[in-house]
């Protein structure tokens, strides 16, 4: 997951996501980019059992809100789990998923 970075405020240290030009806590524009650790937990999740529209991922699939160890939460998916195997609070680690078009950050369950 070396290609994925987060913005961190150089003045107050707040790590933010999604990216923007200023820190939402102290309003400073002084920013650095830091690599993500890849550690996260499941904050919330759903399972789509039927496609809700064209262009849907193949069902069943889950949408996971992952809370990164650095603080930010993001919308992603947990790969390699079936319905019933995922729970809020599960430990996750980030992996990259190259779908041919672009590389995206996904997660798998650990432990």
């Amino acid at each position: 997951v070396s290609g994925f970075r987060l913005q961190r405020c150089l003045d107050c240290g707040h790590v933010r996501h999604p990216p923007r030009f200023a820190c939402p806590e102290c309003l400073s524009e002084r920013t650095e980019e830091v690599p993500i650790s890849g550690a996260a937990v499941v904050h919330a999740f759903v399972w789509y059992l039927r496609p809700l529209r064209e262009g849907s991922p193949p069902t069943p699939y889950n949408v996971t809100v992952a809370e990164l160890a650095e603080g930010p939460r993001l919308v992603t998916t947990t790969v390699g789990v079936d319905i019933g195997e995922l729970a809020v609070g599960d430990a996750l680690e980030a992996i990259t998923d190259d779908d041919g078009d672009r590389t995206q950050l996904t997660f798998r369950r650990i432990g």
């Binding site: 933010r16 939402p24 904050h43 919330a44 999740f45 759903v46 399972w47 789509y48 059992l49 039927r50 809700l52 529209r53 262009g55 849907s56 991922p57 699939y61 949408v63 809100v65 930010p72 939460r73 993001l74 919308v75 992603t76 998916t77 319905i83 729970a87 809020v88 609070g89 995206q104």
Partner: protein, 382 residues
Amino acid sequence: VTAFPDQSALRDRVAVVGVGSTRQGAHPGRGQYELALDATREALADAALDKSRIDGLLGAKQFDGSGIDPVEMAKLIGLNPRVTGALDYGTGGFTTQYAAMLIATGACETVLCVYGRNPAGAMTQLSGEITYDERFGLFNAGAVAALGWSRHMALYGSTEEALGRVVVASRAHAARNPNAAFRDPLSLDDYLAEEHLVWPFRELDICKMTAGAVALILTRAERAAESPQPPVLMHAVGRQQATRTLEDDGHLLCHGMRSVASHIYGASGLGPEDIDVLGISDASSAAVLMTLENYGFCGEGESPALLADGRIEPGGALALNTDGGQLSGGYLVGWLHQAELVRQLRGEAGERQVEGARLAQYMTTGRFRQDFLSTIYRRGEA
């Protein structure tokens, strides 16, 4: 003690004196302005006002830009209002708050608020058709509510049965409302037998698009006596936006509502125990449960237990969405709730009347869990 803005300039100064609403459901061949005009005629007759008395006209837009344009509506009814306006996400309570601001500040005296729609797929199409994340397939506003319920289940051990009880009660109420869209009986077993759509939600947990319209006429309380109906006074109204979304810990559980609760109960000196009739915005079943908790009708995580003994069924101790709500009555983004609460406070809700209703509270989640509002209405002296 939470600080809240002073609201003495508003309290009981604005009255709802006219209400009109169409049947909700399918209206093939009838456009949204035709439905809006039906509701407007009824509201004017109800208030016994000539249209020339309307000096403010508010329509409402939806997130996709559709809706009732107030200038078009003014042309349609042949008026030159002092003010027209439409919120860009004008669910019912936000628009009546806007009307109250216009009246309480003397910008207008009598405001018509009107909304109607006739969407494609009325009665079959799921509401909330919006894409949050294309890459990972986070589709439909209901899925975000389902994310919240997954968290609720993990934190409090709540179940899908609680969702089912909300849906089943909404159907039972709708059966007593001749204008409701979905009136067929539904049991908890029927609900549980349906397959999941977006676990932990079934299709029944997400309201469907319906066609219909509502019109409301608001005026200064001093002028309410000119209309024949018992006036319904706007007693308190509070709003809290939640633009930080997932950056706030309680986003998926709608904790922004707690700020509205502090505001509205603080401003009025009232509490949940004082409210006779509740109108809760129920674009999804889970929204009802989270609303009850965040406003203090029960403790955090206790909403499933609150519902367990038929308390929100018709005749139960908690009169909630007595017209069937959006899940079964019709989905008109909160406008129908205003109409039902006004009728309950007037004592004209027929078979579903809550005896002696004096105080009613509307509670909503707008703009996809990023905007919360609540209104307390009080029955005035006739």
